[in-house]
């Protein structure tokens, strides 16, 4: 909690984006989370990503569930649409909203409790349906609001702040996302914004189900020795497979990359993902290989981060349903009530 109002002053030479906004214009209210919470860094990264992409805030719908993570939608993009849903039900609210208005940018913000426990079913179905969204899990492995019980993503063998050992197996949302058909899967660490910001930018531009699992230490209940989601542990065990540079399709490309060490992924909208390889033989296009790689490193206690998988030709829910290509609220009465002849035709097809 912070009781000092954040002053409206900003740095006199703050850069502006194509819309004339500074990154301060993408802020929300001052965070009420504990000081030092990893979630606040993710909030800052979302602000930075939206600023850099010059997104119009009113084109974003930010949707969340319940929990520390889900509170954060209040702390960024003040001028966007927002919905705080029931616990674990963010994916279905988001899916519904997306079906009604496919033109908005959907930002689902959830936590490990919201997505891996109460909302696991919802999570799975949104992924397998390929809803066009950026689904960010702020994953701290602990129930912070109820004072530090293990969550479903806590690693087996890790210790709670009180010294208890977790005997349950952990749910790896990245592995699930890969298995369920998400077309953009990444993992990042809240303590490394240089990695996280481009991953969020690329996810927003990705036209399919994009999942980013962000390890986000809970300073109050999960940042001690014995935790596998502490700042120290994640920094020591972080295995980045690549570093991403996101180049928007609108911006001219001047940078040339050495083909030996980089992989360029062209996206459907003309944007490019330039992946600087860290792990030499890692291929971000190979879903099965990625799952293997993940399992292999998890067994060694390593946390794989970076862009783990991307499908450059994603398909989304609207395509599967063959829905109308306009938001429903833009359809006129003529299109919505095509008349009795059309009804006759449909009825005839069902006979």
């Amino acid at each position: 909690m912070t009781y000092i109002t954040k002053p409206k002053f900003h740095h006199p030479s703050l850069p502006k984006n194509a819309l004339g906004y500074t990154h301060r214009d993408y802020e929300g209210k001052v965070s009420t989370l504990c000081a030092g919470c990893g979630h606040d860094s993710i909030t800052a990264s979302i602000i930075e990503a939206c600023f850099e992409l010059a997104i119009e805030p009113h084109r974003v719908a930010k949707i969340s569930g319940i929990g520390c993570s889900s509170k954060t939608t209040d702390y960024f993009l003040n001028a966007s649409h927002g919905f705080n849903s029931v616990h674990g039900r963010m994916p279905s609210v988001l899916t519904g909203a997306n079906l009604a208005n496919r033109d908005l940018i959907y930002l689902g913000v959830s936590g490990d409790g919201d997505s891996a426990s109460i909302g696991l079913g919802q999570f799975a179905h949104a992924m397998r349906r390929g809803v066009n969204m950026t689904y960010i899990v702020e994953n701290n492995g602990v129930y912070g609001l109820t004072k530090g019980q293990f969550s479903a993503t806590a690693d087996r063998g890790s210790k709670s702040k009180r010294g208890l050992t977790n005997n349950d197996n952990a749910i790896d949302l990245v592995a699930m996302g890969l298995q369920l058909g998400a077309t953009y899967v990444a993992r990042a660490f809240s303590g490394d914004k240089t990695q996280l910001v481009p991953l969020i930018k690329a996810a927003i531009e990705h036209e399919g189900a994009a999942l980013i699992d962000v390890i986000s230490p809970c300073v109050a209940f999960n940042n001690h020795a014995g935790s596998t989601k502490s700042f120290d542990y994640v920094r020591e065990h972080n295995e980045a497979v690549n570093r991403l540079d996101f180049i928007s399709g609108r911006a001219p490309i001047h940078v040339s990359y050495d083909p030996g060490s980089t992989q360029v992924v062209e996206q459907h909208d003309g944007s490019r993902l330039v992946l600087k390889k860290v792990a030499a033989d890692y291929d971000a296009h190979d879903r099965a290989g990625a799952m293997n790689f993940l399992a292999h490193h998890a067994a060694k206690g390593q946390i794989v981060t970076g862009l783990i998988f991307v499908d450059s030709e994603p398909e989304d829910l609207h395509r599967h349903f063959n829905t109308v290509d306009k938001p429903l609220n833009t359809l006129s009465e003529k299109e919505l009530c095509p008349g009795s002849a059309a009804l006759e035709k449909i009825n005839a097809s069902l006979r």
Binding site: T2, I4, T5, F9, H11, G36, D40, S41, A44, D232
Partner: protein
């Protein structure tokens, strides 16, 4: 870059821009907080200790603090520091009980002070309570020097001068008025242990152009004229007046003229309006009194008829800049301009004059005929003679004279105690955390955008009728309180402890000014370009802290930090703290002597 040495007194001192810019290093934010708390007498005493003349300076200071003020960098106009000082002086209670008492036991040392202006008065104030017998000599009957003779009463009432000079003279100082010192040699022969020369820059610069002699009756040297006005020897002037010169003296001349019968008063300057030496607010005040300022006009000739001045001929010039960027005024080719007038006041500068200092008493003079004075100790080449104020380095302002006086007093004290005057003691520094509890800070850090408040003025018609009617009425308490809230508390420092930092980025994310960056180390120029917001203001330091777990460095650009404390508020481990940094400059006093001994 290396770890910033925050233990060096200068580091955090520089962050307090106003205090650093003040020649006397007055702890500005400290007294502004005291004013905000309604503790006017305390605020006055903080000032009195540091700058000796709070009531006088609160009306007349040249305010080097204000251009330095951080508010000017993060918003637009600086805090009205100078006029807040006046609030402390206006609303204080009787403070005589808090002043030092005349020394009961004299130490047997005798000091002569030449000139009774701010520099000498400061020296005497610092030395008299220690037991020194101080004797001040001045040509005028009363103390104050240029404060009394050159600053018009409508800017500075006599009561304020009497009060603040009185506090000093009441310390058992002997003031010998109406006495000019005509020979330093003779003065030294009287056996003083030290002599301080604070005789100012008393000679107004002459303008030697045709017609000067013939029309002399109506051509006056500005500072002499102001002095005569001040002592009541002159109480009228012609209807049409031309003031030549663009400094603060010119502004005082033209505004005084308006009150002594001048109806059509003009200021005419050689340079452009922007390059004038006068402070912007003094130009504003003059123009507010319907005095036009005409620029790029060089006086060529005084015209006269039957021995009476009729006007001045000016050549129109323009500014040209050479390859080195130096400005030259060259004729514009337009025809000369004749401006008729009844009187001319020449205020084109003032000079030092030391005809009374013999050249064979061990005081060396440089090629500009100025004494060689050490800029730290203010000693001349004669070990017993010290200079300060305008007499040392030419015309400056009251606050510089005060600063010189403190340093010279320290030197004189050391000389008389048989110590090395070049061994200057460090300032006293006190650093205290302002954290009172969770989310509680002992200073008001709720910072908002707020425009500078204006000081109310006396009605112009009323003000122009009486040369003794003070124009500025001073802030009332409500306005004063509002203005205090614009201070950013730059002395409440952000202090970082690497060992406690877990690099969670909370401070980076919350900082409203993007001052803080965690990044790979590098050279300063490289780091400045790589920060979250580039640090382009090279006059402001980078605060660098190494020893972080990831091997990166924390870099904070001090430039536009609001000292709001959000970094410390959001830090989970207390790696950031807000600490009040009080820097107390060393003056000649008992404390400094014991401090010196304990260090030795």
């Amino acid at each position: 870059m290396r770890n910033t040495d925050i233990a060096a007194p200068d580091y955090f001192h520089k962050v307090v821009d106003c205090q650093w810019a003040c020649p006397a290093h007055t702890p500005v934010p400290e007294y502004i907080r005291l004013i905000a708390a309604g503790r006017f007498s305390d605020a006055y005493m903080v000032n009195w200790k540091s700058n000796v003349f709070p009531g006088i300076l609160g009306r007349t200071c040249d305010r080097p603090c204000e251009p330095a003020c951080r508010r000017g960098r993060v918003e637009k106009d600086p805090v009205a520091i100078c006029r807040l000082k006046r609030v402390a002086a206006d609303y204080k209670d009787d403070i005589t009980e808090r002043l030092p008492k005349p020394a009961v036991i004299k130490n047997g040392k005798r000091i002569a002070l030449v000139g009774g202006g701010p520099a000498s008065l400061t020296v005497a104030r610092d030395l008299a309570p220690l037991g020194y017998s101080c004797t001040i000599f001045d040509q005028d009957p009363t103390a104050g020097g240029m404060i009394r003779t050159q600053i018009p009463r409508f800017r500075l009432p006599e009561t304020v001068i009497d009060e603040e000079c009185g506090y000093i003279l009441d310390l058992g100082i002997e003031f010998v008025g109406g006495t000019r010192i005509d020979s330093l040699k003779a003065l030294l022969a009287e056996g003083y242990d030290a002599v301080f020369v604070g005789s100012g820059a008393p000679r107004g610069r002459e303008l030697d152009i045709p017609g000067r002699k013939e029309a002399a009756a109506n051509i006056h040297i500005g500072i002499d004229w102001l002095s005569s006005v001040s002592f009541g020897h002159i109480n009228k002037i012609g209807k049409r007046v031309i003031v030549l010169g663009g400094g603060n003296t010119a502004m005082d001349c033209c505004r005084s003229s308006r009150r002594l019968g001048g109806e059509d008063v003009k200021v005419i300057v050689r340079s452009g309006f922007e390059e004038m030496k006068a402070s912007p607010w003094e130009k504003e005040d003059a123009m507010h009194e319907d005095i036009p300022i005409l620029n790029f006009l060089v006086p060529k000739e005084f015209t006269h008829e039957n021995g009476k001045l009729t006007g001045v001929v000016f050549e129109k010039v323009k500014a040209e800049y050479d390859a080195k960027g130096r400005r030259n005024l060259v004729p514009s080719g337009e025809p000369d301009q004749h401006i008729p007038c009844d009187d001319v006041l020449v205020a084109i500068g003032q000079e030092n004059a030391f005809p009374w200092i013999e050249r064979d008493i061990g005081i060396e003079f440089d090629k500009w005929d100025m004494p060689k004075v050490d800029p730290t100790t203010f000693a001349s080449t004669n070990p017993k003679v010290f200079f300060g104020g305008d007499a040392a380095f030419g015309p400056k302002n009251i606050i510089w004279a005060v600063a010189h006086g403190h340093e010279a007093a320290l030197s004189i004290d050391k000389l008389c105690q048989g110590q090395d005057i070049n061994d200057r003691p460090h300032p006293m520094v006190e650093i205290v955390s302002q954290k009172m509890g969770i989310h509680e800070w002992s200073y008001d850090n709720d910072i908002a955008l707020d425009k500078r408040y204006r000081v109310p003025l006396r009605d112009k018609v009323v003000a122009l009728r009486d040369i003794k009617a003070e124009v500025e009425l001073g802030f009332d308490l409500e306005l004063g309180l509002k203005e205090t809230q614009r201070c950013l508390n730059c002395d409440i420092q952000t202090v970082f402890e690497s060992k406690l930092c877990i690099e969670c980025d909370a401070c980076v994310d919350i900082c409203p000014m993007d001052c803080i960056t965690f990044t790979e180390n590098g050279e300063e120029a490289d780091l400045r370009a790589r920060l979250k917001a580039p640090a382009k203001n090279l006059t402001q330091d980078l605060y660098v802290a190494n020893d972080l777990k990831t091997g990166r460095v924390m870099v904070k650009d001090e430039d536009v930090c609001l000292h709001c404390g959000l970094c410390a508020e959001r830090c989970p481990t207390g790696a950031w703290d807000m600490k009040k940094y009080l820097i107390d400059m060393t003056h000649a006093d008992d404390l400094c002597r014991t401090r010196h001994q304990s260090a030795a």
